[in-house]
Symmetry: C2
Subunit: 307 residues, 2 copies
């Protein structure tokens, strides 16, 4: 009803808000910056989600974080008090496994990432090479001669966040991806994230290296790419036009909504603020326009008063 206009819901008359509330049956909500911040729940988020569920909305949580399995994300949400079904968790690692499964992938995956990815691959019966440290102990020439025997069964390279990312992993990805038949998937391409005053490189920085040394382009599964919700839409479990995407980051959440044909709501408790949106609204670049949400609220909890 307000497509790409970024209407502030707090300034709307009640009948318009009711009309908007009736226009969706499904909510897909980002996690960090919307319902929690790291290990702390955002005030009022639990009550708001509970109330929306009472109104009959089905609620999904969606995250680009590939380091946790759906089960771990479910437990985190559950422990914070969110009443979410375990199979209503959408993660980039789950969606990566679903992507390969949907394509009847039968070979083995070389993984640069964490158990968050390999556990999801195992859950759908896909073989992988494991995760963890992989360091060069001797000289490069010795490594090339005898330190690394490529696994001929590898049919895909999956790259996500990995604190054990190393030069050996770059070499292996290069060797496997030199075969054009080998798939190249990235769980997500977020470039960095802040933790207690430090900037930590995210999966996107690792993906970029692999892109550069292999001269290959990955299929990106995570937001804002449609792939993360592909399995949900294809199975008919949600109707895109009657789905609301809630997020704090326009380049990821709001653009995902746009790419999937969802309605969109931006909340101001995370990455982007109204001031960012106002810049994009005035931009001549159509790519910027796509970042503008339909509606805006300062906090998710503001919905509670409007319901």
């Amino acid at each position: 009803m307000h497509q790409g206009r970024c209407v502030n819901l707090l300034e709307q008359p009640l009948d318009r808000i009711r009309q908007w509330l009736a226009s969706f049956d499904t909510i897909i909500s980002d996690c960090d910056g919307v319902i929690w911040l790291g290990d702390n729940v955002i005030e009022g988020a639990v009550d708001t989600m509970r109330q929306l569920k009472r109104l009959g909305k089905q609620i999904y949580l969606c995250t680009n974080n590939s380091t946790r399995t759906r089960q771990q994300l479910y437990e985190k949400a559950h422990n914070m008090g969110f009443d979410i079904d375990a199979d209503h968790i959408i993660s980039s690692s789950y969606a990566t496994a679903a992507y390969l499964k949907a394509r009847n992938f039968q070979k083995k995956v070389y993984v640069i990432g964490t158990a968050g990815i390999t556990d999801e691959l195992e859950a759908v019966g896909i073989k992988h090479t494991g995760v963890g440290p992989d360091i060069m102990s001797g000289r490069l020439t010795a490594y090339i001669k005898s330190g690394f025997r490529p696994d001929t069964d590898i049919g895909a390279v999956v790259v996500g966040f990995d604190v054990h990312f190393s030069f050996c992993k770059m070499i292996k990805a290069s060797v496997y991806l030199s075969d054009p038949k080998c798939l190249f998937l990235a769980t997500n391409i977020d470039e960095r994230f802040p933790i207690t005053g430090m900037v930590i490189p995210d999966a996107g920085s690792i993906v970029r290296t692999v892109q550069t040394c292999t001269a290959r382009e990955p299929v990106v599964i995570g937001k804002p790419n449609r792939s993360i919700c592909e399995w949900l839409i294809k199975s008919g479990r949600i109707e895109p036009a009657r789905t609301l995407m809630i997020g704090d980051c326009c380049g990821s959440d709001i653009l995902l909504g746009r790419n999937c044909g969802f309605q969109t709501l931006l909340v101001g408790t995370g990455v982007n603020q109204l001031s960012d949106v106002n810049v994009w609204k005035k931009s001549c670049d159509p790519e910027d326009k796509k970042l503008v949400p339909d509606v805006y609220l300062p906090r998710l909890a503001d919905l509670l008063a409007l319901i």
Copy 2:
């Protein structure tokens, strides 16, 4: 005399060749693909260089390889039979140290690279953090809390080829480069190189990661950037218009020549062939035109018959 026309010297009359030979006093030659291939000298290269020196040409060798010091490169050339002065070696690591020295850099350098870089820094009295493995033993949260104390004296991050490249190094570079006053230098940005059928990621792949996770652009020292020859030109040791750049790779060697105002000669014993040049000649993109050398020879040794 043939600027950017890629004249095949073998097809020129003798008086034109003599005229061309008299048009330069200095030769700067790339190494790999021109005078050697890995550990093997290219046939006729030693004799050709000796003859050019007899004609009174001063000869420099220039390489983007940052893993060896000038002294090590000198020894390699010397052992193969090349009669080159030790201070006529131009390497990206030496030029990186020279760049910092010329700017009176007084702080400490965080190095992602090899002793090829740190030895050159030490030679000009610049402090650094050392090189080698740097791996995460515990969890990321523990590492952030207690595993890494930034060195407050760091004033530059230098990135080159490093088989011990790791996620910890990505974090450190991110932290140091979050200070806009901290310099960001790349020895070179070659993306990959082939070894015995394998594709090995080169410094450019590592630099790209650091660019992505820091959102900073590096000063690139290596070819085709002028910086690698800056110290040579500024000291008045060579006259650019009377200098011939010889190389096998147009994007690196020939473009360096163009960027420095040198004459250029492409030899066909390495990366690029005449067929590549013919494509660029016909291109409408001015950037492609810059890749076209002045003259061409199949092999460096072909010069011997023309002298």
